[in-house]
Amino acid sequence: MTVLEKKAQEVGHKPLDQLYEETFPVVARFVSKMGGSFQDARDIFHDSLVIFLEKPATHPVPVSEGAYILGIAKHLWCRKFTSDKRKVSFEDSELQLSFPEDYFPSVKTMHLFQVIRLTGKKCMEILHAFYYSHEPMKSLARMLGYSNAHSATVQKHKCLEKIRETVQQKSMKYEDFLE
């Protein structure tokens, strides 16, 4: 099961393709109205959908799925193409929305991310499963291929140490990683 499918299951979403098909036209119409291209619509829609999907199930969005995704798309449009928000018609409820502060990380953070993603893939997968899958320990251990919860926890500890060490080494090289 992919992250997206799992998330959909967790928050009781519609089937994923259905969510995609229902919300893309709304964002595409907005981007078209603003004079953007299909590629702009696709990029902004995908970012909005990612921001919606990464919200923890414990923090449901304050409006409907479609309204949330369109609201975020409008904010992203303003960031990308115009700093003048008056050019975009925002509903009051949309003005309350915002995208995560770290959604556009610095070049240095992205560089560190790429290094870790490529050199620490196995550990990142294990840590991701621990912090994001919300599986009970037993099934988490099974999912990761460990015979019991203890072995999986030991591996998590080792991975946390490994990634910490990599971050520390790299941050000595690029001091402002820890900005």
């Binding site: 995609y20 595409a28 770290d102």
Partner: protein, 89 residues
């Protein structure tokens, strides 16, 4: 210097907001007295930041897969055409 596992666990509880108020205050006092501990907290915070990026990266890959599936399925042609039509000028 290698950080002990106990300290890593304590930093995790602090960063994830799992410490009681008393323990949090104590921990912050320790931090203000120890530059080394502050660095360790910063490093570990960065690990969780990177994990959040990793989660986002995986979700994005899933979204791209859905896009490809929808836009290459002949049965979805009316849908894709209706989208593309919005951008024909």
């Amino acid at each position: 210097m290698k950080t002990s596992w106990n300290e890593i666990q304590l930093i995790e509880k602090y960063l994830l907001g799992h410490l009681s108020t008393d323990k949090k205050i104590l921990f912050e006092q320790r931090m203000s007295d120890s530059p080394m501990l502050r660095v360790n907290v910063d490093v570990q915070r960065k690990v969780y930041d990177l994990l959040r990026l990793y989660n986002r990266w995986k979700i994005r890959a899933d979204v791209e897969r859905v896009h490809e599936r929808v836009f290459t399925d002949p049965a979805k042609a009316p849908f894709t055409e209706s989208i593309l039509l919005l951008f024909k000028r």
